[in-house]
């Protein structure tokens, strides 16, 4: 049984339909990538999965249960965490406060305190900056904050939308190293990444989306080596 099963979903904004039937599967322990050109609807898939946009047709199953159109709070409770595209922090709060708000749905506990420490172990940069306001962090630090925040939910599935967008090469490598570490630890991840070639390298499976429709799918390697996809999306 797949952890996440998206079957033929349709969704959009107002009268505009952006997703015209998208299907995906993610098995526990896998890293799965969605790639596709700008405006293909990748972020829209995440927003719809996460209950921020209504599913107009089709359904979403998570861990064997129908979760179509459940609100974000309910999905968080089920173990789905979402790191949206772009910089998403509470700018006037400190790093530590941002992290703790990430665990808003969890009660305060000694265990949570230990996990906050573990996030700092994963991202030492954040420990140094723990008393800084999030607005004063660099783009890379903010991205790490967002990933750490999601990890505090101990998610069964993490949705990562463009985690390296606009980051310097050194930070880019750092983020990828962390994603690979998470993967080794068994973290299930569904991600969208602008550097498709790099994402496919670490993906068990991948979907190519175009104009709100599934275009291709296959193992990370198969997609990476597919001649048409190379030409169309990998720019080589």
């Amino acid at each position: 049984m797949a952890l996440l099963e998206v079957h033929d979903i349709h969704a959009g904004y107002g009268k505009m339909e952006i997703l015209k039937g998208v299907s995906l599967r993610v098995e526990t322990g896998q890293v799965v990538s969605i790639i596709g050109p700008n405006g293909a609807g990748k972020s829209t898939v995440f927003k719809t999965l996460f209950g921020l946009l209504p599913v107009r047709q089709g359904h979403v199953r998570f861990a064997g249960e129908d979760v179509t159109n459940e609100p974000p709070a309910a999905l968080l409770g089920r173990g789905l965490a979402y790191v949206p595209q772009g910089r998403n922090v509470f700018p006037l709060m400190t790093v530590e406060e941002n992290l703790r708000l990430g665990a808003y749905i969890r009660p305060r506990s000694a265990e949570l305190d230990r996990e906050v420490e573990r996030v700092y172990d994963t991202f030492p940069m954040l420990r140094e900056a723990r008393r800084k306001r999030a607005a004063d962090l660099s783009g890379g630090q903010q991205q790490m904050l967002e990933m750490g925040r999601a990890l505090l939910l101990r998610p069964r599935l993490m949705l990562l939308d463009e985690p390296t967008l606009g980051l310097a090469p050194r930070v880019f490598r750092e983020i990828f190293r962390i994603i690979e570490d998470l993967r080794r630890l068994g973290q299930t991840i569904l991600m969208v990444e602008q550097n498709a070639a790099k994402a496919l390298e670490i993906s068990d499976y991948a979907y190519v989306l175009e104009l709100g429709l599934n275009r291709f799918e296959g193992s990370g390697e198969a997609i990476r080596n597919d001649e048409r996809i190379r030409r169309l999306y990998l720019g080589r």
Binding site: L52, N88, V89, P91, L92, Y104, I105
Partner: protein, 292 residues
């Protein structure tokens, strides 16, 4: 010198009431993007309610106070949120602004038409016996206003910075979408903010009624001063609204005594323009380049 100290205390006293009104106004803006142009009427309505319970029904003071806060939070908190804000929030800032202007007119002229166009006297809440400190004469009213407002704002500050719900409120204020993504019930927090604002307005009403008398149109000036105070202090900060409110109260009181009492209400505007010219984001404001 004696005069000056007395005026200063009077200014702080009236300013603390402006501040409380301004803080509610800022909270509404922060969590629900509502620029409440009915804020003045949000104070006037509970003042009339208080007159009703106290002098018409002849209830004891405590009962009247409780009933006033209850009426205010139900009508101006829950009802306004559910009927107006819940529907218009999605449509952006402007429809809500227009709706609150409509609401202010509705409250103001309903009170005039259905109740009275006259000023109603309001029984003093505190003893009228003056306090003498050497040559300085102060009133209980002034001191108690400052004390009560201090307690209310202190409690509010504790709530916002020390409780999980308060943190959630700050979260919604700083990034609404992210708050939703983290499982915070934004709609519930908007309701909470409206209820808090209505409670603040009710307290402000009871404190200001003995100073201004209760008349249907006193909300115009009061709402404007709260608005100025919020801008002067920095629209997105509670302590900014506090500072702005005190500043407006003190400056207008001093200026009315030493410069011209005719232009009393203009001095708030003078400070406002000065601040806008020198520091457009407000004295303690943060530039809102960050709102996403």
């Amino acid at each position: 010198m004696t005069d000056f100290i007395q005026l200063l205390v009077a200014g702080i006293s009236i300013g603390s009431i402006y501040a409380m009104t301004a803080i509610g106004f800022v909270l509404l803006w922060q969590t629900s993007n509502t620029i409440n142009f009915a804020q003045g009427e949000f104070v006037v309505l509970p003042a009339f309610a208080m007159v009703l319970f106290l002098t018409v029904f002849r209830w004891p003071f405590a009962a009247a106070l409780l009933a006033t806060v209850l009426v205010s939070t139900l009508l101006l908190g829950f009802l306004v949120k559910e009927v107006l804000v819940a529907r218009l929030l999605e449509a952006g800032v402007l429809p809500l602004v227009i709706a609150t202007i409509g609401l202010s007119l509705l409250i103001r002229y309903s009170l005039q038409y259905f109740w009275t166009p006259l000023a109603l006297p309001f029984p003093p809440v505190f003893s009228r016996v003056p306090i003498r400190l050497g040559t300085i004469v102060l009133s209980w009213e002034e001191l108690m206003n400052v004390l009560l407002v201090g307690i209310v704002i202190g409690a509010l500050q504790l709530f916002i910075t020390r409780t999980k719900l308060g943190w959630a409120m700050q979260a919604v204020a700083q990034n609404r979408t992210l708050a939703t993504v983290l499982g915070i019930d934004v709609s519930r927090l908007v309701t909470l903010t409206f209820v808090l604002n209505a409670a603040l307005a009710a307290v402000a009403a009871i404190l200001i009624a003995p100073v201004y008398l209760v008349k249907y149109d006193i909300g115009i000036g009061l709402g404007l001063k709260a608005f100025y105070a919020a801008i002067i202090g920095g629209f997105n900060q509670i302590r900014g609204a506090l500072l702005g409110g005190l500043l407006v109260g003190v400056v207008e009181t001093l200026a009315a005594a030493y410069l011209s009492s005719q232009f009393r209400d203009a001095f708030a505007l003078v400070i406002l323009i000065a601040v806008l010219l020198l520091k457009p984001e407000g004295i303690w404001g943060v530039k809102e380049e960050w709102s996403s």
